[in-house]
Symmetry: none
Subunit: 410 residues, 2 copies
C-alpha cells in the first residue's frame, strides 16, 4: 500500500515555516507498514492543487491532505477535490449547527463564511473535530482512499489518533513494522558502505538505510510481517559481526548517553579539560539526565595560562611541544582527573579555525586523550571544516575514545 501526503498552504513555501504535520502522519503509516512514496507542499492555488491531487493519486492508493479547510477563500482543498474527481458537493446542516453552537458557546455569532466548512461530498465520512471548527473527512472514490485533515497541528494530532490509526489497524491487521537502528562512530559513510558489500551480496541487495548524521552513521533495519522481529535479530547479528565495537549504540542511544551508562556500570566518574571544543564536550555529557552521577565538572582552557593553572598542565610541555600537541592533550587529561578527583579525565586541544592555523598544525587539527590512574590513550584527528562542525566532530571523537577505553579495559 503506497501513500502520498500533501500539505496545503502558501506560508509553507516561504523561508520561515516547515510542514511538520507530515511527520505525525508518516509515523502512523510506518507503524502499519504503509510506504510513503512522496510528500509535497503546494500553495493556496486551485490549479496547482488540482494537478497535485491527480499526480498523487496516479502514484499511490492512499492520499492524505492537510490544510486548506478553513472558511476563507484562500482555503480551496474542497474545491480542488471537486475538480480533480468530478464529484458533487452539498451542505450538511448538522455541521452548520455544530459550528454555530461552537461560536455561540463563546458568545459570538458565526460568520457567514464559515458555512463553506459545511460543504460535503456525497458519500464522504465527516470527521468531527473536537479541537477546532473545521471538520475533516474521508472519501473512498475510484479505488483510492483519501483522508483530509485540518492543518492546525494539535487538531491534526487528535484526528490521526481518533480516526486514522484505528482505520489503519483494521485495514492492515495490526502493527506490522519493526525497526532497529545501529549506530556507528569513527567511520565515514563510504567506509561503512565498503564494509557492507558482502552483506548486500548475501541479502540480494535488500534495502538497508544508511544515514550519515552529525559525524556518526546510522544503519536502519526495517522488516514487515509476522517474522519481522526474528528477521531483524538475524540481520543485526551479522552487522555486529561486521562492525564490532564500531557500533556504539542502538535506537535512541547517543554517544553521550552510552558513555553515561558505561560510567554508571563501572561506578566510575569523569572530568574534562577542553580548549578548541570550548565547552561543548561538557555540555553534551550534561545533556543526559542523571549525568551529575558521574560527571564532576570540567575546565574550558582557552589560554595557555588556564591550561596550567586550572588543569595543571606542565608549562615545560607547552613550551616544548606547543599548546596543540599530544603531550598537552595527555597532560590535560591527567591534570583534570587529578583536580576533579575522577576515575577518568579527557583532554582536548586543537585549532577550530578559521584563524590560528600554521603549516605544521593547520586549522582542523585536534589531539584528544583519555587517561585513568595508570595509563592513557591518544588520538590525533583532522577535521578541516566549519567551526561548529569541527567542535561537533571533535567531541564525537572524544566521547568515542572514552567509550572504547571503557569497553576495552573491562
Amino acid at each position: 500500500m503506497k501513500a502520498s501526503i500533501i500539505a496545503v498552504g502558501s506560508e509553507m513555501l516561504g523561508p520561515t515555516r516547515l510542514d511538520t504535520n507530515s511527520l505525525k502522519i508518516t509515523a502512523a503509516f510506518e507503524d502499519f507498514g504503509v510506504t510513503v512514496v512522496r510528500k509535497s507542499v503546494v500553495g493556496d492555488v486551485l490549479r496547482d492543487l488540482v494537478d497535485e491531487i491527480r499526480y498523487c493519486l496516479d502514484h499511490s492508493d492512499l492520499l492524505v491532505i492537510t490544510g486548506g479547510l478553513g472558511p476563507t477563500e484562500d482555503d480551496m482543498t474542497r474545491d480542488a477535490l471537486v475538480e480533480a474527481f468530478g464529484l458533487q458537493m452539498e451542505i450538511d446542516q448538522s455541521i452548520v449547527d455544530r459550528i454555530e453552537a461552537r461560536f455561540k458557546a463563546r458568545g459570538w455569532k458565526m460568520p457567514e463564511v464559515n458555512k463553506r466548512q459545511a460543504n460535503v461530498f456525497r458519500g464522504q465520512t465527516t470527521l468531527r473535530n473536537e479541537r477546532g471548527t473545521a471538520p475533516g473527512f474521508f472519501l473512498a472514490a475510484k479505488g483510492k482512499d483519501i483522508w483530509v485533515f485540518p492543518g492546525v497541528p494539535h487538531e491534526l494530532e487528535w484526528m490521526i489518533e481518533t480516526y486514522l490509526v484505528p482505520w489503519l489497524q483494521q485495514k492492515r491487521g495490526g502493527r506490522a513494522r519493526q525497526r532497529r537502528v545501529l549506530k556507528i562512530a569513527g567511520m565515514t559513510e563510504s567506509g561503512v558502505e565498503e564494509k557492507l558489500k558482502p552483506y548486500y551480496d548475501a541479502h540480494n541487495h535488500e534495502p538497508l538505510t544508511i544515514l550519515a548524521t552529525s559525524g556518526t552513521i546510522e544503519l536502519h533495519l526495517i522488516a514487515d510481517g509476522s517474522d519481522a522481529q526474528s528477521v531483524i535479530a538475524g540481520r543485526e547479528k551479522e552487522l555486529v559481526t561486521i562492525f564490532g565495537d564500531k557500533i556504539y549504540g542502538y535506537d535512541g542511544d547517543s554517544l553521550e548517553s552510552v558513555i553515561g551508562r558505561l560510567l554508571l556500570e563501572h561506578q566510575a566518574t569523569v572530568s574534562v579539560a577542553e580548549s578548541c571544543t570550548g565547552g561543548l564536550l561538557a555540555s553534551r555529557i550534561t545533556d543526559v539526565p542523571g549525568s551529575s552521577g558521574y560527571f564532576m565538572g570540567g575546565a574550558v582552557t582557552y589560554t595557555a595560562d588556564s591550561k596550567m593553572f586550572i588543569a595543571g598542565v606542565d608549562p615545560a610541555l607547552i613550551q616544548q611541544f606547543g599548546e596543540v600537541s599530544e603531550q598537552v592533550a595527555v597532560d590535560l587529561a591527567k591534570g583534570v582527573r587529578r583536580r576533579f578527583h575522577t576515575t577518568y579525565g579527557i583532554g582536548v586541544t586543537g585549532i577550530a579555525g578559521p584563524g590560528g592555523g600554521t603549516e605544521p598544525k593547520p586549522v582542523g587539527t585536534v589531539h584528544i586523550a583519555v587517561a585513568d590512574s595508570d595509563r592513557y590513550e591518544h588520538r590525533k584527528l583532522f577535521w578541516p571544516t566549519t567551526r561548529s562542525l569541527f567542535k561537533w566532530f571533535a567531541t564525537n571523537s572524544a566521547l568515542d575514545l572514552l567509550r572504547l577505553y571503557l569497553t576495552r579495559a573491562h
Copy 2:
C-alpha cells in the same frame, strides 16, 4: 518565474527527519522575487524520482534538486535526470582527482564507489563543493534551468551563497525584496504581541512576521519595490522606540556574536563558571570565530567541591545559602573572573532536572550573575521545561545579562 524544489532521500519520508534545506532555497528565491509553486520529498526510488522531475518541469521554469548525489547506489539523482531528459553522462577526471586529493589529505584511500560522483552531463556546469566530496551541477536544458545540490545542509548553504545567489542576482537584476530582522531577548511572544498593538493600529494591520525561536523573538520586516529600503527604515525606527534595548541585534546577529562585538569594542575579556548549563554557555561563546580574543576560559562546576576549588566560591556561602542561590551565583562570577584574570565573570547555578528539585528550589530554577571588579548584577529565572531547553534558555539569559551590563555601563 516559477520554481519547484525536490528533496531526495527516503529518510525524509519517515517520522524522524524533515527537509530543512528547502527553507534556505526559498529564502534566496524570495529575495529575488521568484515564486516557489511547490516543494516535495521523494525517496531513493528511480521511477518516483524520474516522474517527479518531469512533473516539476511541467509546472515550473526553475527546478532545484537536493540530495541523492553521494557515492552509493542509493544515490540516484544523476540516473533520474538521465532518464527524465534523455541526456548522456561521462566521467570528469578532474572531479576524480579532487575527491582523491580530499581523501589523501586525511591519509585515506578513496573508495572505488566515490568515482560515481564524477559522472557529469555533457554541457553541465559543475559546481565545486568546498565543503564536501559531492559536487553539484547546473543544467540548462529544454528551456528549463536545473540546479542540483548535495543534501548535506552546510554544504548546501555554501553552494547557495556561492552559486545560486549570484546567478539570481544576474538573472533577476538585483534583489526585489528587502528584509530586516530585529531580534528581541528577555520577552515572551505574547508580551511582544501586546506591545505591538499601537504599531499594528497605526499601520492598518500591515503584516509583520513574529517568529519565536529558541527563547528569543524575531520581528521580520519585509517590503518590495523601489522604496522598500526607506519603508523598512521607517518601520524599524518605530520598533526600536517601542522595544528599546530589548532588541539585542539584527539580521544575522546572535546573542553570542553581539556580546563578542561589545567585548572587543570595550577591549574587555570574559570567563564563565557554570553548573546547570554544563558547558553550554562557554560553548556558545566559543561558537563565534575570533572568540579567543575575549574569552579566556571557563569552569564547569558540577559539584560543590569544584565550585570552591576551581571557581573560588566561599564554602560558607554554599553552607548557608545552598549551591543554587543568588550568593553562590555572584561568588562564582567574582571567583572565575579573578581566576582567569578577566574584566567580567559570569556565574550560573540552577537545577536543570528532571531530578534534583525541592519545594523551595524546584526544577527549572536558575541564578545568573555578571560581575566586574567593583559591582555585579543578578537575575533569578524559572524555566520548568526539558533539560535541553532549560540549558538553552538559561544561557540566553546569561548572555543577555552580560549584553545589558556592557551596554548600560558604558
